[in-house]
Subunit: 107 residues, 2 copies
């Protein structure tokens, strides 16, 4: 039951726009091979592959060889860590505009 093979920080993994777009693409399909993912980006195959490696090390992506291609699929569950982290702060969302007003009035 070792769902946590996280060698990489999930927060760091989702920090890059390219990696977030990869996640988005993988959410829309079951399984996508590397060359097909690469076609969606203005960069080379090597760069996309590196981003996918980072996602894999964060547990956000699974990959398997099928013939000569490597197919990737999304594993969204590590995102729960982000959700948990956010839960601490979303209670501040309402109050902070008030805080801002207080701050401006003090000046």
């Amino acid at each position: 039951m070792s769902e946590n093979n996280q060698l990489r920080d999930v927060f760091h993994a989702i920090a890059d726009p390219t990696r977030r777009r990869l996640i988005r693409l993988l959410a829309e399909a079951e399984e996508i091979p590397l060359h097909e993912l690469t076609a969606q980006f203005p960069m080379g195959r090597t760069a996309v592959s590196k981003h996918l490696t980072i996602l894999r090390e964060a547990g956000l992506v699974l990959d398997r060889r099928v013939g000569r291609e490597t197919r990737f699929r999304l594993n969204a569950s590590p995102l729960r860590e982000i959700e948990d982290w956010l839960a601490i702060y979303n209670k501040f969302w309402g109050t902070n505009l008030l805080r801002l007003n207080q701050l401006l009035e003090e000046e």
Copy 2:
């Protein structure tokens, strides 16, 4: 009503553990001066100040001079962007263990 002065990516801002700890510290107090925040970290004042600048540019922190100190306070609302982004994927959280099983059975 320009709440979005975001020069920096919020995802990038929360990617660093030091910056997440700064957010945590600021959530626990109303207002904390730089030197007091610095005392909580194993690094120098300059480094902490740089992290706070990144948080400020992401809109996550507000600062004001009071006498000779610069006091910081949390503004959590930009975190809503993260929450919105997560909302797209948390519907996958339940299904992915099934996917993983399917994958293992295929092998």
